[in-house]
Symmetry: C2
Subunit: 211 residues, 2 copies
């Protein structure tokens, strides 16, 4: 297992900075499966991402079953990396669940009256929104964890391919997900069997201004 190996000769983790520079999307994968413990640890770590109100609206379905991968690929306009990769993570955002679980999400070190006030204020904010509005908000928050997931996977030796090209209604039906949820991305994951395109970005200095 790569993630918990302390043996540097087997696998030395790049720094997060190195991984940010080298990461690229990969669409061809070795057939080698990923140990379930590695996937669980990766998703646990992705879930360490911060979110507003500590709401943690993200949920994950890891698809490994060959038949289900084929159906998921069909719901993603036939993208073949879903069939090729040993696993594809269907990330979804579920604000109904997040709202229901706020008493669990709010920090246990706060005094009880502040916890109660926090839960009430959070619910009041979202009770005034339509389902679509609050799910859009949860979807955006989930992308913070998606950033964590993609960068962490790279440092742990796994290649990924995040995808937005899919029919969300078909994916929900296939996996039996509730109608109200939003799917920020599908992420195929495995060991790379191609080099992929070198990363290309706009010049960093054109994106930043100092005041």
């Amino acid at each position: 297992m790569r993630i918990n190996s302390g043996d540097a000769s087997v696998f030395t983790q790049p720094t997060a900075a190195q991984a940010a520079d080298t990461r690229r999307s990969i669409r061809q994968y070795e057939s080698t499966p990923i140990p379930e413990a590695d996937l669980r640890e990766l998703l646990r770590l992705a879930g360490r991402a911060p979110s507003a109100y500590n709401v943690q609206p993200w949920r994950f379905v890891v698809v490994r079953d060959p038949e289900l991968k084929t159906s998921l690929s069909a719901a993603a306009y036939g993208q073949q990396q879903i069939v090729r990769a040993p696993a594809t993570i269907v990330m979804y955002s579920d604000m109904d669940s997040a709202l229901a679980r706020m008493p669990e999400s709010i920090h246990p070190d706060l005094p009880q009256d502040k916890r109660d006030a926090g839960v009430a204020s959070f619910r009041a904010t979202f009770d005034n929104q339509s389902v679509a509005e609050r799910e859009a908000w949860g979807n955006a928050q989930s992308n913070i964890a998606l950033g964590y997931l993609l960068l962490l996977a790279e440092t742990l030796g796994y290649a990924t391919s995040p995808m937005l090209g899919f029919d969300p209604e078909k994916v929900k039906t296939l996996l039996g997900l509730p109608e109200h949820v939003r799917i920020p991305a599908l992420v195929s994951i495995g060991f790379a069997a191609e080099e992929g395109f070198r990363p290309h970005r706009l010049p960093a200095e054109s994106m930043v201004e100092f005041r």
Copy 2:
């Protein structure tokens, strides 16, 4: 400078996995300024995050001027970490700019006809959307880079405090940002001068399902 130091006795970077586990929001900062080169490198690395169509809608304004920090804090309901931190990064998403720059964003290794088709298809997608719709989409994509930024800052020895509590119109007016942009977060950054709350998350196994 911490980021490019090769001297492990000065600063050894934690792995991304360690940083994910230890990172917490910090609201008290040392007054020590952050070298501008470190901020530039951090934002360059955050901008390595992937985005759909490689659109890179995120832009950054780094606020360091004391008077401007005070005004920014006022636009963020008086949150004091903006005054205390040596810098606050105002991250914003600008789909107008991203659309205009698509010919630059699309991968230079693609043949010219595919580049042209990619730009046309991207613009066609967003031309059919309202400004609000496409900015909401760009805002969500920008949160992938926000995840990168927060995790990278932690590995580089910097504490952060991401904030959603601000009046976006006031922030835009203050910084002279265009009306159409969206602001996914303000992020105060500096050296921690408090321990902060221990991170608290929902049990990871309750967020993941295997199929």
